[in-house]
């Protein structure tokens, strides 16, 4: 399910709207990941506060969504462009790749909440495909 030219354009256009709200959206998506899928909290046992209002959740949500935004710029070569991030996730963080689907789902939920008119079904399918490709690229170095 690779990205067509139409998908890439839809992704670039939509994430252009996401970029100005990156902090808000990143925090919301991570907060929901931790709250709605409590098993994901196991990766953050070193944080004092895992609630949606936590400063650590806000900071890390921004880190994660900035990573996704950088992937938009690398959309023509996600595997190559995300190699270093993949190594980080594979060897240092060792996040089970099943969790990529979880955060992707919560990104889609927050996109729908914040952009009800822009997040049309056509944009949804292109963004979903893109996030799936990002996840694959992130999992590249795992084994």
């Amino acid at each position: 399910m690779s990205l067509s030219a139409k998908d890439k354009l839809a992704v670039k256009t939509f994430f252009g709207k996401v970029a100005p709200k990156v902090e808000d959206i990143g925090r919301e998506a991570l907060a929901r990941t931790l709250f709605v899928y409590p098993q994901t909290k196991t990766y953050f046992s070193h944080w004092a506060d895992l609630s949606p209002s936590s400063p650590q959740v806000k900071k890390h949500g921004l880190t994660v969504l900035n990573g996704v935004l950088s992937a938009v710029e690398l959309i023509d070569d996600l595997k190559g462009g995300l190699l270093t991030l993949s190594e980080l996730h594979a060897f240092m963080l060792r996040v089970d790749p099943a969790n990529f689907k979880i955060i992707n789902h919560n990104l889609l939920v927050v996109f729908a909440m914040m952009f009800p008119d822009d997040f049309t079904p056509e944009v949804h399918v292109s963004v979903d495909k893109f996030l799936a490709q990002v996840s694959l690229a992130l999992a590249e170095k795992y084994r």
Partner: protein, 147 residues
């Protein structure tokens, strides 16, 4: 037996109360057919599903969306026994319609997206958790009679 807290019951009824039943079902089904095009396999008799625009304009899709959502309403009214409420529906989907039960999860995800776009910030993490738990119970009940 699924246990629901008072907060979860309240959240589900609140979401349901805010939903325009005539519209949400159609939007969710159309979105499912667009985002997961392989789901179109069950709708050969519905006419043109060739692109997003025709799917969203398709009257049979719209009508069927309402049927599906009214079915979901039965789960809302019978939260303490969704499994038995849905047993005949599960048999129908397995033996007559031959629907791969993974599709229930896909449609559920599209429904969540449509609800999120309708409620905006009112779709809080608490409400999302309750809603997704409810849908997971519904999806499980729909798959229960498959063998």
């Amino acid at each position: 037996m699924v246990k629901w807290t008072d907060a979860e019951r309240k959240a589900i009824k609140a979401v349901w109360g805010k939903m325009n039943v005539d519209v949400i079902g159609s939007q969710a089904l159309a979105r499912c057919l667009i985002v997961y095009p392989w789901t179109q396999r069950y709708f050969d008799s519905f006419g043109s599903l060739s692109d997003a625009a025709s799917i969203m304009a398709n009257k049979k899709v719209a009508a069927h969306g309402k049927v599906v959502l009214n079915g979901l309403g039965r789960a809302v009214q019978n939260m303490d026994d969704i499994k038995n409420t849905y047993a005949p529906l599960s048999v129908l989907h397995s033996e007559k319609l031959h629907v791969d039960p993974d599709n229930f999860r896909l449609l559920g995800d599209c429904l969540t997206i449509v609800v999120a776009s309708q409620l905006g910030r009112a779709f809080t993490p608490d409400i999302q958790a309750a809603w997704q738990k409810f849908l997971a119970v519904v999806v499980s009940a729909l798959g229960k009679q498959y063998h």
